[in-house]
């Protein structure tokens, strides 16, 4: 019984999602090996080896894995699978792209976006988090993606697990990386931030979003999120979308400004410790789950809040 966990990284740094997924993996009760696949990832492997509960780190250092393309990465995971009973990855864009491919190649039904593990049973949200299913699998192996925000990251120690190189599994060359346009990471990452400030359609323009939401977030050292309506309207980039089909967050403090509280948005924030809603409509559904509500105009409240903090 051994578990293989696919590390999440951006080619430079190990993502905290890996430590969160490790906490989930620990609940399976088997030793955990972490696979770091990429090009020039020795320092990432080293960082993974220091995480609590890692028995071994496998490194597949090859140009084919430089951009985490699903076709070569799934081939690599499948080549390693015979030695493992469970394969886990965080439910990040990478994990969600690669793991179902692995599952199908192993003839396994993946368990997606798990929020709790108890021995051999798994909890996962369905219907935008309105129904939590408890499932077990009859497959000979488990392929699981883990919702990071549901697990606390494991700690880090000095003791480092052995790091072992593994052979690349060949690249089927079905797809080719062209380019990446990533935001400069000047703020905390949404899915692991302690505070998140999100803006909705009410902001009305990209300029106002930047003028009202960003300075408040920066003063709080917070990550910035947005509703789908705000993203669709171009006020905020795609990957700031919080909700059922965007990012799941669970900060200590979530501030929703000018967001109505549609089911799809709420699905992504309901595990936050404290939710603050600012909305001019006192009937807005967001007030049904907000711990603290302010009824009023964001255009006056947000600057006041920033100045008084």
């Amino acid at each position: 019984m051994t578990t293989l966990l696919l590390a999440e990284h951006d080619g430079k740094l190990l993502s905290e999602q890996t430590a969160r997924t490790l906490a989930a993996a620990a609940k399976l009760g088997a030793p955990v090996h972490v696979l770091v696949a990429g090009a020039g990832v020795a320092s990432i492997a080293e960082a993974a080896s220091r995480l609590d509960g890692v028995a071994k780190v496998l490194v597949a250092d090859d140009a084919a894995y430089a951009h985490q393309l699903a076709e070569p990465l799934s081939a690599l995971l499948v080549s390693l699978a015979p030695n493992y009973d469970a394969l886990l990855a965080p439910s990040t864009a990478n994990g969600k792209s690669v793991m179902p491919r692995v599952a199908a190649l192993l003839d396994v039904m993946q368990i997606s976006d798990v929020i709790a593990i108890d021995g051999t049973t798994f909890q996962r949200p369905t219907y935008a988090g309105n129904a939590i299913e408890t499932v077990t699998s009859s497959d000979p192996k488990l392929v699981v993606t883990v919702r990071g925000s549901a697990f606390k990251p494991v700690g880090e120690g000095a003791a480092s697990a052995p790091v072992e190189a593994v052979a690349a599994a060949g690249d089927p060359v079905l797809s080719r990386f062209i380019k990446e346009e990533l935001d400069a990471a000047e703020r905390p990452e949404l899915t692991s931030a302690r505070i998140v400030v999100s803006g909705g359609r009410a902001l009305g323009s990209k300029e106002k979003f930047e003028e009202l939401i960003l300075p408040l977030a920066d003063k709080l050292g917070a990550a910035v999120g947005a509703s789908r309506a705000a993203v669709d309207a171009g006020y905020a980039p795609n990957d700031w979308q919080v909700g059922q089909t965007g990012k799941m967050v669970a900060p200590d403090l979530y501030i929703a400004a000018g967001i109505s509280g549609a089911i799809q948005h709420v699905a992504g924030i309901s595990d936050s410790r404290v939710i603050v809603a600012i909305n001019k409509d006192e009937e807005a559904p967001i007030f049904q789950l907000a711990d603290y509500g302010l009824v009023g105009d964001i255009f006056t409240i947000l600057p006041e809040l920033k100045d008084k903090l």
Binding site: H67, A70, A93, K96, S97, M99, P100, R101, V102, A103, A104, L105, V108, M109, Q110, I111, S112, D113, T121, P125, T126, Y127, A128, G129, N130, A131, E133, T134, V135, T136, S137, L174, S175, R176, I178, K179, E180, E181, L182, I195, L220, V231, N238, D239, Q244, T245, L253, R273, V274, I275, V276, F287, L289, A290, D291, Y292, G293, L294, E304, L305
Partner: protein
């Protein structure tokens, strides 16, 4: 280029889904059903490819009960040319759906299959990737832009931190994200025309696919409910509460 689009009949996105008292699932009686919103985006993309002269034929396919023909009619009204229903009342998991779609692909030989990135009922986000794996095809999932080229596609994907652009060798699988396009509403004349477009039917047995579920759902529960909180009178009061009562500042 021939395009296959997969569509699923799901609970409408506006419905507040309720869990059954006995924990055996969610209330589906008398609930409004619609095409999965991501699949509407997938159909729209196929129709745009056809309108741009890039796609020659669009075949819509659904796995589901007889009523899924309504979903297929919607796809036909949006601009698909014909449809295939793989009819079953059973609950079909993504792996089995991918296997069924693989048999349809074997018969139809499309150059491109477009699916929604996730169904808003089971929220699995698996079927497209699984189909790509079973076919040994390239995949461009969570697509926000698709451009066609000679024997290939350029797909821009929504990833953590921004956008990634990849080139896919055809045949390929694409799954649609929200920003790929804004789906049209079918016009009345097109809805009428869609009634005459053919829908072929087959069963999982005809496809030779075992659809027995691999996962057992032991129970289905409502999430822990958050108690609604209090409305405050001023920004000062909010800051005070966040500092002392909540201790988050």
């Amino acid at each position: 280029m021939k395009v296959l689009v997969a569509v699923k009949r799901v609970v409408d996105y506006n419905v507040a889904v309720r869990v059954k008292q006995d924990g055996t699932g969610v209330e589906l009686d008398n609930v409004k059903m619609s095409m999965n919103p991501f699949d509407e985006i997938a159909v729209e993309e196929a129709v745009r490819l056809k309108e741009a002269g890039k796609a020659s034929e669009i075949v819509a396919v659904s796995v589901g009960p007889q009523k899924a023909t309504e979903t297929l009619r919607t796809a036909l009204a949006m601009g698909a040319d014909r449809a295939i229903l793989v009819k079953t009342d059973a609950k079909v998991e993504p792996l089995a759906v991918a296997k069924l779609l693989k048999t349809v692909v074997a018969e139809e030989a499309p150059d491109l299959v477009i699916l929604g990135k996730q169904a808003i009922d089971d929220d699995s986000n698996q079927t497209g990737q699984m189909l790509a794996a079973l076919l040994g095809w390239s995949q461009g999932v969570f697509a926000s832009k698709v451009e066609t080229g000679e024997g290939m596609l350029t797909v821009t994907r929504e990833v953590d931190g921004g956008l990634q652009t990849v080139e896919l060798k055809l045949p390929a699988i694409v799954t649609a994200d929200l920003r790929l396009n804004e789906p049209r509403y079918a016009s009345l004349p097109n809805i009428m025309k869609a009634k005459k477009k053919p829908i072929a039917e087959k069963t999982p047995e005809d496809c030779g696919v075992d659809i027995a579920p691999r996962l057992t759902v032991l129970k289905t529960e409502a999430p822990k409910k958050r108690g609604g909180g209090v409305k405050l009178a001023s920004v000062d009061e909010l800051i005070e509460k966040l500092k002392t009562e909540a201790g988050v500042l």
